[in-house]
């Protein structure tokens, strides 16, 4: 059974300008021990989608569809059950999480906080031992627990956040751009930690990033989002090397292969900008920027269709597969 399953989830925000559809009919699933990369840029809806997992959206948001965490629908859970589920079944490593640390509390105390919240009767020595184990799991010496956040580097703080996410033994971790603000070397260390933990603990992971190459190397499967919809899905190396959607192709080419002379003095990108949420163009939302767009693209509503072995694409010109 999938640890996480999203069925036709849509998220609409109420704002002064009216209803803003940030996510439109997204369906995803992640099994235990597998990692799903969610690729997308600003306005793609990727953060809104993952915020539904723990029902962390603001009150101005309306969510439809089903969000099944180990079979239970998060959206219809009672408040008490939701609080129990938060962090113990699924946890989140937020974007810019390094800044989410309280500067006046020791790091160990903050890692222990979710443990204390979920197991009210846990004793101090037990909690401290668990914190030490968690720190070791993320590759930090246990004495780091005595440090304050400002004494740690960016990479160390991010690993602390991962330790905190693991604190209650969740089945699913959602990592929202966990390495974006870090140097390449530290990024590699953090990715290594995440990959090891996913494997050792049999976790499921959803990894959000705008860098397709990071996702291709760190995740098993890949889903690419644009303007609130999933436009392509499949095994990550296949989606990266042989994209079935022009947007995925463009995203994959955004970061050049160093050493490949074709990329010298030839930065590749797309014209224009990703649409603001709620301003998606008609038909295929990508058509104004698509290098292969034709008239039919502006008038036909697109949806995900199979385009290969375990592959889906919403492009009208993706390879056809008999249904």
């Amino acid at each position: 059974m999938a640890v996480l399953e999203l069925e036709d989830v849509s998220v609409t925000y109420r704002s002064a300008e009216g209803a803003v559809p940030a996510v439109r009919g997204v369906s995803l699933s992640v099994d235990a021990g597998r990692s799903l990369g969610l690729a997308g840029e600003s306005g793609s809806g990727k953060t809104s989608v993952t915020s539904t997992v723990l029902r962390l959206l603001p009150k101005s948001a309306t969510v439809t569809g089903r969000v099944l965490l180990e079979g239970e629908d998060v959206l219809t859970m009672k408040w008490g059950r939701l609080r129990a589920v938060r962090w113990a079944t699924a946890s989140v490593v937020f974007q810019g999480a390094m800044h989410a640390l309280n500067p006046v509390q020791r790091v160990g105390h903050q890692i222990a906080e979710p443990i204390r919240l979920h197991e009210k009767s846990v004793s101090e020595p037990t909690a401290r031992k668990r914190v030490g184990e968690l720190l070791e799991q993320v590759g930090l010496p246990s004495r780091v627990a005595q440090s304050y956040p400002h004494q740690l580097s960016g990479g160390q703080k991010q690993r602390v956040m991962i330790a905190m996410a693991l604190a209650c033994g969740p089945k699913l971790i959602v990592a929202d751009e966990p390495t974006t603000a870090l140097d390449v070397m530290v990024q590699q260390q953090v990715l290594g930690v995440l990959a090891d933990r996913v494997q050792d603990l049999g976790l499921a992971m959803v990894f959000i990033s705008h860098d397709l190459s990071v996702l291709a190397s760190a995740c098993d499967d890949l889903a690419v989002m644009y303007a609130g919809q999933v436009v392509e899905q499949g095994p990550s190396d296949q989606v990266f090397d042989d994209a079935h959607h022009p947007y995925s192709r463009a995203l994959g080419g955004a970061y050049p292969r160093i050493g490949d002379l074709r990329f010298r003095y030839a930065p590749s990108g797309l014209p224009g900008d990703p649409p603001f949420p709620g301003e998606a163009p008609s038909g295929c939302a990508f058509h104004p920027r698509c290098p292969q767009a034709r008239e039919v693209c502006a008038t036909t509503d697109v949806e995900l269709r199979p385009s290969g072995e375990r592959r889906w694409s919403s492009c009208l010109f993706a390879p056809e597969v008999g249904t």
Partner: protein
């Protein structure tokens, strides 16, 4: 050799660090930027590349060495600095922060003109700069405010603001790292086109080697306040000589044919620079024994500052030319 438009000679910049100990931000750098040349200055955070770029702009005073503008030393009087600003402009990393949220696009671009008391047609100059930066028709953007624009558009406004003074050099600090991936290509293409159409020289400061591969003629790799390798981009990134450059290249996600060399240990502390080669505590070559022949030099003998011009050189006792 092309004449140098902007040059750093023996630059040293020292700050007072925590606890009063001097923290070296730049510890002896020679770097020159020729006319119409694009140089990438790469390194991780804390290596000193941002401080070096700010020193070249005159925003920071070096504690040693000098900055040469078209061959002449930069003076630090208010008048000389102001004159320097017209010829060397800065494009910052975060376009959202770089624009005053209360000022319209027109005012943001015109600010430079007003500061330097431009006496030509201001409106035409602003429109021209916006058009060159890819915002067409420029009039449509005059009255917009930053929060109404996308990230890519904001960066174009910042670039227009730098172009309006018709500088010779633009120093871009992480010009695309906070932008969406699909927009990155356009902004980089814009920077390339400015070299073609205006003969601009460009110094791009970044931690992203891909940016260097995309647009830079030459690349200089910084580690702990010094340049450790520099030369033509293709040579340095295809056949790196310095172990640090090799390690950096190996962990770039886009490269999958090389086994990643993940450096151990924490990024270094600028208040405690190692003796000898400053990279030696983390050097994989030293650790694996490949550098045994020169190990004593690595640990004790300080390397000379690279000359900063011309060919491919690395500051390394093992592989340096």
């Amino acid at each position: 050799m092309t004449e140098s438009v902007l040059e750093a000679r023996g630059i040293e910049v020292t700050f007072r660090g925590r606890g009063g100990r001097p923290a070296r931000a730049v510890d002896g750098v020679d770097l020159s930027l020729g006319r119409g040349e694009i140089v990438a200055l790469v390194g991780e955070s804390g290596c000193g590349k941002t401080t070096l770029s700010r020193t070249l702009l005159g925003l920071e005073r070096p504690s040693g060495g000098e900055v040469l503008v078209s061959g002449r030393p930069l003076e630090y009087s208010a008048a000389a600095l102001k004159k320097h600003r017209r010829s060397a402009q800065l494009v910052l990393q975060d376009p959202t922060g770089a624009l005053n949220p209360r000022r319209s696009v027109y005012e943001a671009v015109a600010e430079g003109l007003r500061v330097h008391r431009f006496d030509g047609d201001e409106r035409a100059a602003v429109a021209d700069a916006l058009a060159r930066a890819g915002l067409r028709p420029p009039e449509r953007f005059f009255l917009r405010y930053p929060h109404e624009l996308s990230g890519g558009q904001r960066q174009r406004v910042v670039i227009a603001g730098a172009l309006v003074l018709q500088p010779q050099v633009i120093i871009a600090d992480e010009p695309v790292s906070s932008l969406d991936a699909s927009v990155r290509g356009e902004i980089l293409a814009l920077l390339l086109s400015l070299r073609e159409s205006l003969g601009l020289s460009l110094l791009v400061v970044t931690h992203d080697l891909g940016v260097a591969w995309n647009i830079a003629d030459r690349i200089a790799v910084m580690y702990l306040c010094r340049i450790v390798e520099q030369g033509p981009t293709e040579e340095v990134l295809s056949a790196p000589k310095h172990p640090y450059t090799r390690a950096l290249l190996s962990v770039v996600p886009e490269i999958d044919h090389v086994e990643p060399i993940v450096l151990t240990g924490e990024p270094p502390d600028p208040t405690a620079i190692p003796t000898g080669c400053r990279f030696h505590p983390r050097c994989p070559a030293l650790r694996d024994g490949a550098a045994d022949a020169v190990a004593t030099d690595c640990r004790g003998k300080e390397l000379p500052v690279l000359s900063g011009t011309g060919g491919h050189e690395a500051a390394c006792w093992l592989t340096g030319a």
